[in-house]
Symmetry: none
Subunit: 400 residues, 2 copies
Amino acid sequence: MDLSALIQKNSTKIIFIILDGLGGLPIDGKTELERANKPNLDNLAKISACGLHLPVDYGITPGSGPGHFGVFGYDPLKYEIGRGVLEALGLDIELQKTDVAIRCNYATKKDGLIVDRRAGRIATEKNIELTSRLSKYINEIDGVKIILKPGKEHRFCLVMRFPKEIREKEAWVKDTDPQKEGKQPLDPVPLNSESLEVAEVAKKFIQKAEEILKNEEKANFVLLRGFSALPEIPSFEQKYGLKACSIAVYPMYRGITKLLGMDTVPVEGDIEEEVELLKKVYKDYDFLFFHVKKVDSFGEDGNFEGKVKKIEEFDRFLPEILSLNPDALVITGDHSTPCILKAHSWHPVPLLIKSPYVLGGMVNSFTERECLKGELGIIHSLSIMPLVLANTLRLRKFGA
Amino acid sequence: MDLSALIQKNSTKIIFIILDGLGGLPIDGKTELERANKPNLDNLAKISACGLHLPVDYGITPGSGPGHFGVFGYDPLKYEIGRGVLEALGLDIELQKTDVAIRCNYATKKDGLIVDRRAGRIATEKNIELTSRLSKYINEIDGVKIILKPGKEHRFCLVMRFPKEIREKEAWVKDTDPQKEGKQPLDPVPLNSESLEVAEVAKKFIQKAEEILKNEEKANFVLLRGFSALPEIPSFEQKYGLKACSIAVYPMYRGITKLLGMDTVPVEGDIEEEVELLKKVYKDYDFLFFHVKKVDSFGEDGNFEGKVKKIEEFDRFLPEILSLNPDALVITGDHSTPCILKAHSWHPVPLLIKSPYVLGGMVNSFTERECLKGELGIIHSLSIMPLVLANTLRLRKFGA
């Protein structure tokens, strides 16, 4: 339902923790969460409202964008976020409504064919040098400002800044990445009559870049993917009346939360550094999003032991987080990433909400199987935010 | 959500078993499933994802059409299938888009009243003789080709083949069966302005049939029910990319699956013969639907012991089915048929999905009460197919 009429502000604080790719599946009878030695999480689960959330729908495996949109209460079937936009926001490019963002790779082209889609994963320093060179020679194309920013290894981001506002459809241009080595790069084909201009600028950019990079041994070509413009989306503050801050090490997750109007504070390192930052900014915000990426990374690598250890590492920092004494604390994932699948999956994700207003006493530990016995049951991800707002008394009564 | 963009093909195999009318209610404290001695089903449930599915909605008792549509992922509120169409397809009549199908009964009429709606359940041989006689004298009416086919006992099917395509609404004509003995047969009343022609042909058919049958002692009249044309419905292959085969003894269930574009192989007998057929055709299909009718039949008769024994019989064949080693195995019902109701019911139906990608370990046996503890919870029937596709890795990730 539409919450907007029910929102009321108060001084409560919410800590919202996403252990990326949290849910798992058993190996030798136990899941990653079941194997992990995590006394603090288990004790917290005993006194919390537990359950599982379904990120998008039954059987649907979400990407990171839809997974996060869901837990933040933005319907992933309604709001879509392009890869280019995500990447640009994550690289701290302040995207405007006049922009088209594109994810690019340096690649190796030989005899007209792409022989390495990642240019041998060139060093980030080399990338910085090349992107700086491209920036120097390509400032604008047909009146469109060209903004380039290096990412890690072979990745960089291209933003076309038009002199007019760009609607989402105007950015729909086909990826030029052939996806397989040994094939010709594809043309940036417009996918509708409104994206002709973006396609034309892309074509010229590729030609100019090839000319500038022609003497490079590895990075002598560029591949463009994920053409996208900013989606129209209400901010967290507009939607919930929450002043929100995002604490995330990885660019993409800062990108997602920037899109929702959260403040993002760059942080290097991992959980320890994120906890330090959390403590530092805690007093300034109503809602603190705390993202732990590497649980998912180990899952995607199929590294069961690594995922277990990362959960255990988080568990050791949990008392420090709890000592901030937030009015509500949420711990869940944006999706499951079972090591046996080495990929995101469709499985519901363990969820815990701590507040003074829960039953508690339903589960013995924070695992997939125990959470099934919890007071929340299996809920859709979109129900998490209403529950969190309710648990901090931020929702008025509905009807008389 | 719309799965079509996420479907990917692979070589996995799915066995999808419907024990018709599976769910039940307790007599002396135990349901049919709880009373049955079924070690194989119980052991399978222990390592499977269990839950219950809600066929249509809370409190809604589904017919066989909606029950099967739901578990196959076709919204029963969107797609409707007429009884006449079901019957015709089940009798192996290859229905065309130009056809109206009608379920008919031979009946006994005396002094203008229907005194036996089933003509004393005449022998099938007699039915064959009478239907052959009707066919001989009634080839066409007003340019509409008349096709007749005998069913069992007093039942036969009438197909009107028009020289033009027939839309569903054009077939909406009222049943002529008065539903109670001692009443006059009803007229085939058109239910809208588009069904006038079908109603007129029906009226003439009834008159001609009565004239031809006038000297019969019992079967001297015909009652027409379930006027219907083919619904527009995407095939299983179009919808899911699955090459599907249907194994069912009873005509109606072969009919339903034919409508979804499944191959149907006629089979006589019961579970044993169906298992033989399953093994024979297994290699040729991605999806094998396996239908056991008699669990429902005993439920409808209120025969608790019979339903228990039929479940136990299926249990004895389960190891043979499991030995085919499908990538995913589903066991559920299309609806519940509790013996104490002697009818279909609205109760959620026990559901089991076996695949390498489940938690398992949540239930001790395959019963209504144990399935409530399972990892699937209570899901809508429409969520079963997405889960099965996910569990065979046939759905791509949604979003970046």
